[in-house]
Symmetry: C2
Subunit: 320 residues, 2 copies
C-alpha cells in the first residue's frame, strides 16, 4: 500500500474588496477541502487565524489569505478553482500553486502541466520547474500580477526524504499516541505559547499545526520505510525558521532533503558530510524570489531490492 | 518538446525446440517492433547476429535469443506479448523485462506495475525495484524459472544523466553527420573490427549498434539540455566493458549515472569526486544476480529555473 507523502500547495491573498475569509466559516472551507478530495479533521484558532488539520495535510485561513497543503492523491487545483467560483468578482492579489516532485507521479490524478492548463484558462499565470527532472524538483505557478510580499508571506519549507530507519520505525509503531510522538520530536518545548493541534493516522502517519499571531508551522510525517517523507513548513521569521529546520533535520536524519524559500533567501545551515547537489532560484515577475535547494547526505546507501510481487504466482507458463 | 530518453528493455532466450529466431526474417521482426510503436531504420549482420537500429533504440537477434530496447513513449511489453502470440508452444528459457526510471513517468502510456500485470497473466514472474523511488531506480521483471546464465548473457549498462553542457550542445548542433559524432566519441577506434551501424536523428539524437561474434554494444544519446540522457550497454566481457564504461563516462561527463550489471558484478571504477549514493543487488530466484548502482558527481549544480509557459499569456483575469 503506497501513500504519496509529497504535497501540493496553494496560497491565495485577496484584496480589501473581498469578504473576510475567516468569516466564511467552517462549512465554507469544508466544501473547499472536499473539492480536493480531503476532509477536515479538527481546527484550532487564535485571534487572526483558523488552522485546520486535514485528512491529507493542512489549511490555514486568515482574514485576507489562505494556505492549503494536500498530499496523497488529492487534486488541490480543484479546490482553488472551486474557491474562485464562489465569488462574482474576486480581488486577487496573489496566487501561488506549488507541487513537489512525487515519489510516483504516474499514480497522481493529474500532472502539474494539466493543473496549469486549467489555471491558465482562468488566471494569467506563469509556471516553472526548479531542480532537475530525474531528482528532486519543485513546480511553481504564480499569478502574473505585481504583488508586494508581506513579512508573513515569507515561507520556508523543509522536505525530508528517507528519514533515519530507526526513527521511521518508531513512528510506524501501532497504537502510538500523539503525546509520545510530540515527545520524540520535542515539539512541546519548540512550540510553547503556540496554539497546537495534531493527529496520529492509522496505520501510521502524523500531522501537526501550530499557530501564534499570524505565524504558522506545520509538519507531516509519512514514515513508510521504502518511501518515508516528512515536510515541515513555516512562515516564522527566518532566524526562528532556520533553527526549526535544523532541529527537525537533526532529529529525523533524512538521506536527502530540499529547502524551498519564498521571499527572503537566508543562508541555510548545512551539516557536515552534506553535499548540496542543486540550487535553482528565480525572481518571479510578480515581485518576489523563490529558491529551491536540494541536499544529499554523503553516505552510500546499500539497499534491499523492493519486491513488487505481493501475491504468490499461480499462473501457468503459456504454452510450456 | 520533451523526449524521454530512458529505455525499457526485454531479453528473451528460447530453447532448442523453437525455430531459429534469425530465420524468422526482417518482416517478422518489423511486426514485433511495430507493436511497441517503433520502427526499423537499418540492419547490420554478422555470422550469428542481426542488429537492428530502431526509431527508438535497438534490437539484437541471435539464433536463440533477442534483446530489444526502446525509449520514448513506446510500449515494449506489447512487443513481447505479440512475440509470444506468434508461437503455439514456445520453449522459454529466460525472460527479463527492465524499465529505467523515466524523467517523466506520468507521460508514459503504461506504468511498470501495469506492464507486469499483463506479463503475469501469461508468464509466472517476479518483479522488483532496485534503487530509491525519489531518485534513480530500475524496475526488473523476470520469468520465475531456473536458467543457467551464459557468458554472452552478462550485460553492463551505463545510464548517464545531465552530460556536460558543452558536449550536449555539440551533439545538438543542426546538420551533424554521423562521422563527426563518431569522431567526438572516438568510436571508430573503440569498435575496430566490429560491424557498426549508426543514425543521426532530427532535430537531434544519435544511436549506434556494434556487433562482433555474439557480442554487442549499443549507445543512445538524447542531448536535450534540460534532460540529457545517454545509455550505453554491452555484453562484452567485463574487462572490456569496464574500459568502455570509463571511456564514455569520461567523454560525456554526466552529473549522475547508474550502472546496471546482470550476471557477474565486477568492481566499477569510480572517478575521484564521485559519491556512490546507492547500491542495490539481488540474487534472482531464476539463478543470476543483478546489481544497480547510482553515482553522483560531487558538484553543486546552480541551475536556471525552467519556464513551462511557452505561450504568451493572453487570458484575462477572471472577474478582475
Amino acid at each position: 500500500m503506497f501513500f504519496e507523502g509529497s504535497e501540493k500547495k496553494i496560497k491565495v491573498v485577496v484584496g480589501e474588496n473581498t469578504p473576510c475569509l475567516r468569516s466564511l466559516g467552517r462549512s465554507f472551507w469544508e466544501k473547499i477541502v472536499i473539492q480536493s478530495e480531503a476532509s477536515i479533521l479538527s481546527v484550532v484558532q487564535n485571534e487572526v487565524c483558523d488552522a485546520y488539520l486535514l485528512s491529507e495535510s493542512s489549511l490555514f485561513v486568515w482574514k485576507n489569505r489562505f494556505v492549503m497543503l494536500t498530499c496523497g492523491n488529492t487534486i488541490l487545483v480543484d479546490a482553488l478553482l472551486y474557491f474562485l467560483d464562489q465569488f462574482d468578482n474576486i480581488d486577487l492579489q496573489s496566487v501561488c500553486y506549488q507541487r513537489k516532485n512525487e515519489y510516483q507521479p504516474e499514480l497522481q490524478k493529474s500532472s502539474f502541466v494539466e493543473d496549469v492548463e486549467r489555471l491558465n484558462a482562468r488566471l494569467p499565470g506563469k509556471s516553472f520547474r526548479l531542480g532537475t527532472l530525474d531528482s528532486h524538483h519543485q513546480y511553481l505557478y504564480h499569478l502574473d500580477r505585481p504583488y508586494r510580499l508581506q513579512p508573513e508571506d515569507e515561507t520556508f519549507e523543509l522536505l525530508m526524504y528517507h528519514i533515519d530507519e530507526s526513527v521511521a520505525a518508531a513512528f510506524s509503531q501501532p497504537n502510538q499516541t500523539s503525546k509520545e510522538i510530540r515527545k520524540m520530536l520535542d515539539v512541546d518545548r519548540l512550540f510553547r505559547g503556540f496554539e497546537f493541534d495534531d493527529f496520529v493516522f492509522e496505520p501510521c502517519g502524523y500531522s501537526f499545526n501550530a499557530i501564534k499571531g499570524d505565524r504558522y508551522a506545520t509538519l507531516h510525517i509519512t514514515p513508510e520505510a521504502a518511501h518515508s517523507y516528512v515536510s515541515f513548513e513555516t512562515n516564522l521569521d527566518s532566524e526562528q525558521a532556520m533553527r526549526m529546520l535544523s532541529h527537525f533535520r537533526e532529529q529525523l536524519k533524512p538521506s536527502s532533503w530540499d529547502v524551498v524559500a519564498l521571499g527572503i533567501l537566508p543562508e541555510v545551515p548545512m551539516p557536515s558530510q552534506t553535499l548540496q547537489l542543486s540550487e535553482s532560484s528565480l525572481s518571479l515577475s510578480c515581485g518576489f524570489d523563490v529558491r529551491f535547494s536540494h541536499y544529499q547526505a554523503q553516505e552510500r546507501k546499500v539497499m534491499q531490492a523492493t519486491p513488487l510481487h505481493s501475491e504468490p504466482q499461480t499462473t501457468e507458463l503459456h504454452g510450456a
